[in-house]
Subunit: 418 residues, 2 copies
C-alpha cells in the first residue's frame, strides 16, 4: 500500500484517541481527530469532582490546547453518525470525512443492564455532567435534611448508595465518607451524623474482583472503618428515585444512587453499522483491525478482544496500549509490511479509599495503606494533562488534606437539583 | 427597645448580606442568613468566566465555608417567598422564620426593559450560569464557523454583540477581543479573523457615563484599537436569536448578544409585598429603614435611595457601605438610640479593557493604561474571598498573560449550546 499523504481519521479524544493522535505527530499524514466534546477528560478523577474536591475544569483540557503544536492535525468538533466502510468515509453532523485509515476510539458508557429505573434515576460516573450532578444532588439533599423535621424523610435524604464494588465504586464510597464526616459534619453542626448512611453494594462476593483477595478484604475493612456499609452479594433489582429494591425484596429508601456497576461501549459503537458483541463492543482481529476492513482499527473500550480467555478490561491503560499498537500497524501497512498482533501488558490496579489509604497491585506486588496512597497520588498527578491542571489539583489536594476541606461544595444548578 | 438575644434575619448572601452577617459576628444575637444559592459569588469577575479565563468555581465560595467560625450564625439554603411585616415573619420554601430585625439584601438582576426577544435570546451577566452559557455559546459558534462553508452564515456565527457601555459591557467587549485575537486565532488557524466582528452598543453618547469624559474617550479608543466596533447612540429595538434590530431599522445578524444594558432589583424585591419604585427597587428612609417598619432595613441593589439627586448605583461598594450602616443602626435601636442617616462615600470607578489597559477614577483622580490596570488587578484579588480562589485566579492571570492562553475554553454543556 503506498499513499503519499494518507488521511488518518480518529474518532474520539479520550485516552486512546488522544494517544493515537500524539503518536502520529511526526507522521507524513493528515490526521483528523473527531469528538463531540471540545475537551479531553481525565475520567479517573471524576469521583473527586462528584465529592466537591476538584473543580470540573481541572480534570479537563481543550483538545485544541493539547494538540496546538501538531501541524498535521485537524480537530473537528462534531458528532459521527455512521461509517461507510466500503467508501472509506465517515458521516458526521457537519459533512463527510473521507479517510485512508480509521481508528475508532469511541470510548465507554455506563451499563444499566436494561433497567429503566436505574437509567432514569441513578447517576453514572462517566462525564463531567454526571459528576457535577452528583455533587449538586448530595449537597442539596444535605441542606434539605438540615431543615427537614420528619426523621424517616431525613434518613432517606441522608442515604447515599453506590452500586458496584470495582475501583470506581470503592473510590466513590470512600470519598462520600470523607465529604460527610470531615466536611459536611462541620458545615451542618445541627445534623445528627448517626442518621447518615453510605452503602456500597456489590453483586459478587468481594470488592475489587481484579485484585488479590487480601486487597479486596483490606479495601472492605478500610471502608467499614470509615463508616461505609459494604454489602457483598447484593443484587439491585430497580430504583424509582425514592427506594432501591434488592433481589430478595429488601428496600433501601434513598434519594442518591451512583451507578458504577457496569460499563459498555459508548452508543456510537452501535451507530457505526458494524456488528457489536458483548458489552456493545466491536470485535476486532488480534491486530485490532476490523474483519473485512483492514484499514479500520478499533481500540479501547469500544473494542472487544480477549486476553488470557477474558475480555480486556475497559480501562485507560488498555486504550493507550492499543493506540500505540494501532498506530504501529498503520505504519507497517504503509511500509507494505504485515500488521502484528496486539500484546497487552497488565500495568496493575490502583484504588484509593481516602486519606492515607489505598490498595495497589502492580507487577504482581500487593501493597496497601500510606505507600499505596502515595503511589496513587503520584501516578494520577503525572497522568493529568497540563501544568495548570496539575498545579491546581495538587493545591486542592494539599489544602483539603491539611484543612479537612472541600472547596468546591457549590450547588451550581439554577433549578433545585434535588 | 430591649430584646435579650434578638433574631436578625438577612435575606441574600451577596456583597451586602454577607458583609452584614460578618459585621454581626460578635453581636449577642441569632443571625439567620438566607439565600437560595449555597455560595457567595464575586460578580465583578463573571466576564472572565464568560471568556474562558477563570473557572466558575474560582469566583464562588460556599457561604458555610466563609462563615464557618461564626457561632451566632445560622445559614438556610431556601427561597424567601414573602414577608409578613406586621408579624415580623418570613415565608420561605422550608417554613416560617420569625425575626426581630430584618435586612433585605436581595440583590439585582438584568433589566431587559420589557423586550421579550432580549429576555429570551440574549444572555445577561449576573449568575454563574449566565457566564458559562456565554462561554459555551461563543466557543461552540466559533467551532461551527470553522466548518461552515457559507460566508454569510459564518459571519453571523462570528459576530459577538455586547449591549451596554457601562463597566460590565466595556470589560466584556475587551475580553471578547482578547479571547478571539489572542487565543481562538491560534486554536482555529483556518478561520479568517477579518470575518470576526465584536460590536459594543451604547445608547448614550459616550461609554462609562459614571466617569470623566476623557476616560470615556480613552476606553473607546482602546477598544477600537483591539478591534471592537464601538457604536454610540445605538438603541436596541429587539433580537430574535438570529438578528438584532436597532432603532432606525439597521439589522445586525448575530448569534450572540450579551445584555449588559440595564440592572434592576432581583425579582424577590417585588415578591415581598412591599411597594417598589424605579428599577423595581424598594424605597427606603435615609436610615435605610422601611417606612412604617423601623425594624426592617433594605440595602444594596434592592434599595432605592438618592444621593446628590441621583439614585445610588447598583454596585458592590454601595451594598457594603449600606450593610455597615444598617448593622450600625440596628445596634443603635437595641441601645435605645435613634438611627442615623446613611452617608455614601464614592470609592471611585474602575474598568479593565484587557492586557495592560484600564481606566480608573478614584478620589477625583483619573488615570488609565498600565497603572490603572495594576490597580484593578490588586483591588480585585484583594476583594476575592478565600486563599485558594486568590491563588488560582492569580495563577490563571499570570499564565494567560505570559502565554496568551485561556485555560477554560471548555464547552461543558451536553446538548449543543449553539
Amino acid at each position: 500500500m503506498t499513499i503519499d499523504r494518507p488521511t488518518i481519521a480518529i474518532i474520539g479524544a479520550g485516552f486512546g484517541g488522544l494517544r493515537a493522535a500524539r503518536q502520529l505527530r511526526r507522521a507524513k499524514a493528515r490526521v483528523v481527530l473527531i469528538d463531540r466534546r471540545n475537551y479531553h477528560l481525565f475520567q479517573p478523577l471524576l469521583y473527586q469532582v462528584a465529592t466537591a474536591g476538584l473543580e470540573p475544569e481541572q480534570i479537563a483540557k481543550p483538545v485544541r490546547a493539547i494538540l496546538r503544536g501538531q501541524r498535521n492535525l485537524e480537530f473537528r468538533l462534531t458528532e459521527v453518525q455512521g461509517i461507510d466502510l466500503a467508501a472509506r468515509s465517515l458521516h458526521t453532523s457537519s459533512g463527510e470525512v473521507a479517510y485512508d485509515f480509521l481508528i475508532v476510539a469511541a470510548g465507554g458508557a455506563s451499563d444499566t443492564f436494561g433497567k429503566p429505573g436505574i437509567e432514569k434515576h441513578a447517576i453514572g460516573l462517566k462525564d463531567l455532567s454526571d459528576a457535577v450532578a452528583i455533587r449538586n444532588r448530595v449537597l442539596c439533599l444535605f441542606e434539605r435534611a438540615a431543615l427537614e423535621p420528619h426523621p424517616a424523610v431525613r434518613r432517606a435524604l441522608l442515604t447515599l448508595v453506590v452500586v458496584g464494588g470495582g475501583p470506581t465504586g470503592v473510590e466513590m464510597a470512600g470519598a462520600f465518607s470523607e465529604l460527610v464526616h470531615l466536611v459536611l459534619a462541620k458545615d451542618l453542626p445541627a445534623l445528627d451524623l448517626s442518621q447518615v448512611s453510605i452503602v456500597l453494594l456489590e453483586a459478587a462476593d468481594r470488592l475489587l474482583p481484579g485484585m488479590p483477595a487480601q486487597l479486596s478484604a483490606a479495601a472492605a475493612a478500610t471502608l467499614e472503618r470509615k463508616g461505609v456499609s459494604v454489602r457483598l452479594g447484593a443484587m439491585v433489582d430497580d430504583y424509582d428515585g425514592e427506594a432501591l429494591t434488592l433481589r430478595g425484596g429488601e428496600i433501601i429508601p434513598c434519594k442518591t444512587v451512583v451507578w458504577a456497576a457496569g460499563a459498555r461501549a459508548a452508543p456510537l459503537a452501535a451507530r457505526l453499522g458494524i456488528p457489536t458483541g458483548r458489552q456493545g463492543r466491536i470485535p476486532v482481529e488480534p491486530t485490532l483491525q476490523l474483519r473485512g476492513a483492514p484499514e479500520a482499527f478499533v481500540i479501547g473500550d469500544a473494542a472487544y478482544l480477549e486476553h488470557a480467555g477474558q475480555p480486556l478490561p475497559m480501562m485507560a491503560p488498555v486504550a493507550v496500549q492499543m493506540a500505540d499498537a494501532a498506530v504501529d500497524n498503520i505504519r507497517r501497512l504503509l511500509r507494505g509490511e504485515s500488521p502484528v498482533a496486539f500484546r497487552y501488558r497488565n500495568p496493575g490496579l490502583l484504588a484509593t479509599i481516602g486519606r492515607n489509604a489505598a490498595v495497589a497491585h502492580i507487577h504482581g506486588l500487593s501493597f496497601q495503606g500510606f505507600a499505596a496512597w502515595v503511589v496513587w497520588l503520584v501516578v494520577h498527578l503525572i497522568q493529568l494533562i497540563g501544568f495548570r491542571n496539575r498545579l491546581f489539583v495538587l493545591v486542592n489536594w494539599a489544602v483539603d488534606y491539611f484543612f479537612y476541606d472541600r472547596a468546591v461544595r457549590l450547588i451550581t444548578e439554577d433549578d433545585a437539583p434535588c
